[in-house]
């Protein structure tokens, strides 16, 4: 998300090129969606063993970023931390764009996306015992609340903003816990099934949202050439360290519980099977170990570079965490009958990344990038000091 700022503040040529690239990728994503819609989902890597693929991974990742970003944008409006005012609008706008991207992701994952309106027929055509339908209320409400909240901030109605902010923060927490419940309540899949999943998702949302925010703040200040007040970043990085520690504790408890139980075959497979690199490399290595090391080491914790690297590491690592939940969670064969199940019914499933699915995923990200660029261009999001120059230059 850093590149938009270059183009905007620097040469308008860069802005145009970036916009053109994003439009191109969005169109490619749209074409691949049409292909998947007309030909069927066999163009994806999903199968009857791994029914959920990249769009779902991306969706829960984006919901996490969005919820985290919104909670942090309320630092100014709810918790009265005035020093974060310059970033609060960007953070909130980012939250709205991200939840929009997440809803696009869900719709594209559906086998019959033209029927996605059925998800929003609450209490009429919906089965309200389904976590999916309940989350429909949460996501839809979140999107609306975000837009109203954002409108109030643009209109500068401060009393309303504070009330709205409290509602939005609580709702954002609920959104992410609900997303965790989609997975955590499924007892047929031991890796998913866990009462702590909603809290793990909430912590992961806060962590990834904060990391994204740090990256955006640093980029914003770098490209608008406003001098970065370091006292802005280091409280955030300390908060990031604490949140990463909380998240890793939650994950540790979750995995230990599953290891202690006798029904541990699928977890052992996650830790040692062919998705072990996702768990150990991306999730543990990049999301927990490296950031904790960088943010607590006396030499790197007080440097901007150390904090930014830690944030990028968290961003990639949490994506790995999402992938490591969705795909391996269903890829391990279910024990229909005691003994070794022969053939495809007992084989560990794999999830090949296909070109169409990759393009579709890139398309979702590009669409959001495009909306974000448009927002930067047409909405008053960046700190006021440099805004005039911005607008004329990006023209």
């Amino acid at each position: 998300m850093s590149s938009p700022f270059t183009s905007i503040k620097g040469r308008s040529k860069g802005f145009r090129i970036l916009t053109a690239i994003l439009i191109g990728l969005t169109l490619a994503g749209f074409v691949s969606f049409i292909v998947s819609y007309t030909w069927g989902h066999y163009v994806f890597g999903t199968s009857n063993s791994v029914p959920w693929g990249m769009p779902i991974v991306i969706t829960i990742y984006l919901i996490g970023l969005s919820a985290g970003s919104l909670i942090l944008s309320s630092l100014t409006y709810v918790f009265k931390r005035e020093e974060y005012r310059p970033i609060s609008r960007v953070a909130l706008f980012l939250a709205i764009v991200l939840i929009f991207g997440a809803m696009v992701g869900i719709a594209l994952d559906l086998g019959r996306p033209e029927k996605s309106w059925r998800l929003f027929m609450f209490f009429v055509l919906n089965n309200m015992r389904s976590m999916f339908a309940i989350n429909g209320i949460l996501y839809g409400g979140y999107f609306l609340i975000g837009i109203v909240y954002f409108g109030a901030i643009l209109a500068e109605k401060y009393k309303f903003i504070k009330r709205m902010g409290i509602v939005a923060v609580l709702w954002a927490a609920l959104v992410h816990m609900g997303t965790g419940a989609i997975f955590g309540f499924i007892d047929a899949r031991p890796i998913y099934f866990s009462p702590i999943k909603p809290f793990e998702f909430l912590a992961a949302a806060m962590v990834s949202g904060l990391a994204l925010l740090i990256i955006v703040v640093v980029a914003l200040f770098k490209f608008t050439k406003i001098e970065l007040n370091k006292s802005l970043i280091f409280p955030l990085s300390r908060l990031l360290l604490v949140l990463v520690m909380i998240l890793s504790m939650i994950v540790l408890i979750d995995k230990l519980t599953h290891l202690y139980s006798l029904d541990r075959a699928s977890l052992l497979w996650l830790l040692t099977g062919h998705y072990a690199w996702v768990f150990w490399g991306l999730q543990v290595g990049l999301a927990y170990f490296l950031p904790i090391l960088l943010l607590s080491h006396p030499r790197s914790k007080n440097t901007l570079r150390g904090v930014v690297i830690a944030s990028f590491s968290v961003g990639i690592g949490i994506f790995g965490e999402r992938f490591g939940l969705v795909i391996p969670g269903v890829a391990y064969p279910m024990p229909f009958y005691p003994g070794k199940i022969e053939g495809i019914w007992g084989a560990e499933a794999s999830f090949p990344l296909t070109p169409i699915e990759t393009l579709l995923s890139l398309g979702i990200f590009s669409l959001m990038g495009l909306f974000f660029l448009l927002g930067l261009k047409y909405l008053e999001l960046i700190p006021i000091e440099n805004q005039e120059g911005q607008r004329t230059e990006s023209g």
């Binding site: 069927g40 199968s47 009857n48 029927k115 059925r118 055509l125 007892d187 005691p338 199940i341 007992g346």
Partner: protein
């Protein structure tokens, strides 16, 4: 109201896969290519798994035919957001292709892997019962789907046979049975009313040792297996 259930006698089952084929023929289920089969993208409403235990030379192989278990407490019905999967009064778990949005949540929640997603537009092929789909205004599922990709499918206990048989006043379980029961060469499958104490299925369950798959999931499924 009857409560339909099935008994599979593992002592008689030879693992010939006749049930799988009969199901495919009856319900117009496409045959996948070997590649689709390898990638687990072929649609199966009924499958036969082979489970081995022990080491050579003391090896045992169990052949377990697995249709949809039509659970009393079906996880798929709980998780379906669109009411596309629902439980009929007679206990059959149905899948309505017109309501299904293809979110695949039911496939994740099913403890028996009984559900398949339709991954591609299927070629039109010759079919011995080319019943056309009902008009748009007629609600409810129809038995011989003109397939669209992007929806989840599963075994229906051949509900169309049961409904037709009841209409004609035939005895379900003797004169009218699902296709897999009818085609089983060793008569390992018995279909009937679990609530009727005089049905063959009730008699077998009271006289032989039986088990159900994955009892630990508490799904109270209605497919019973007789011990070998």
């Amino acid at each position: 109201m009857p409560r339909w259930g099935m008994v599979i006698d593992l002592d008689k089952c030879t693992g010939c896969q006749s049930c799988t084929i009969a199901c495919k023929v009856e319900n117009n289920i496409p045959h996948g290519s070997p590649q689709e089969q390898r990638l687990r993208r072929e649609i199966y409403w009924n499958k036969v798994i082979a489970v081995t235990s022990g080491r050579f030379p003391s090896v045992k192989t169990e052949l377990i035919p697995m249709p949809c278990m039509h659970c009393e407490e079906a996880p798929c019905v709980t998780v379906c957001p669109a009411k596309a999967t629902y439980r009929r009064e007679d206990g059959i778990i149905m899948q309505d292709f017109r309501r299904c949005i293809g979110c695949k949540y039911c496939m994740v929640a099913c403890p028996y892997g009984a559900r398949s997603f339709n991954y591609r537009e299927q070629e039109a092929k010759e079919y011995h019962r080319p019943d056309p789909p009902p008009e748009r205004r007629v609600w409810g599922p129809w038995p011989f789907p003109t397939r669209t990709h992007g929806v989840v499918e599963k075994c229906t206990f051949c509900f169309h046979r049961i409904d037709q048989g009841l209409k004609e006043g035939k005895r379900i379980g003797q004169e009218v049975v699902p296709a897999c029961v009818e085609e089983c060469p060793s008569r390992a499958r018995i279909f009937g009313d679990l609530d009727d104490p005089h049905s063959e299925i009730s008699r077998l369950l009271s006289s032989r040792g039986w088990f159900r798959l994955r009892e630990e999931m508490n799904t109270k499924c209605k497919v019973y297996y007789l011990h070998r």
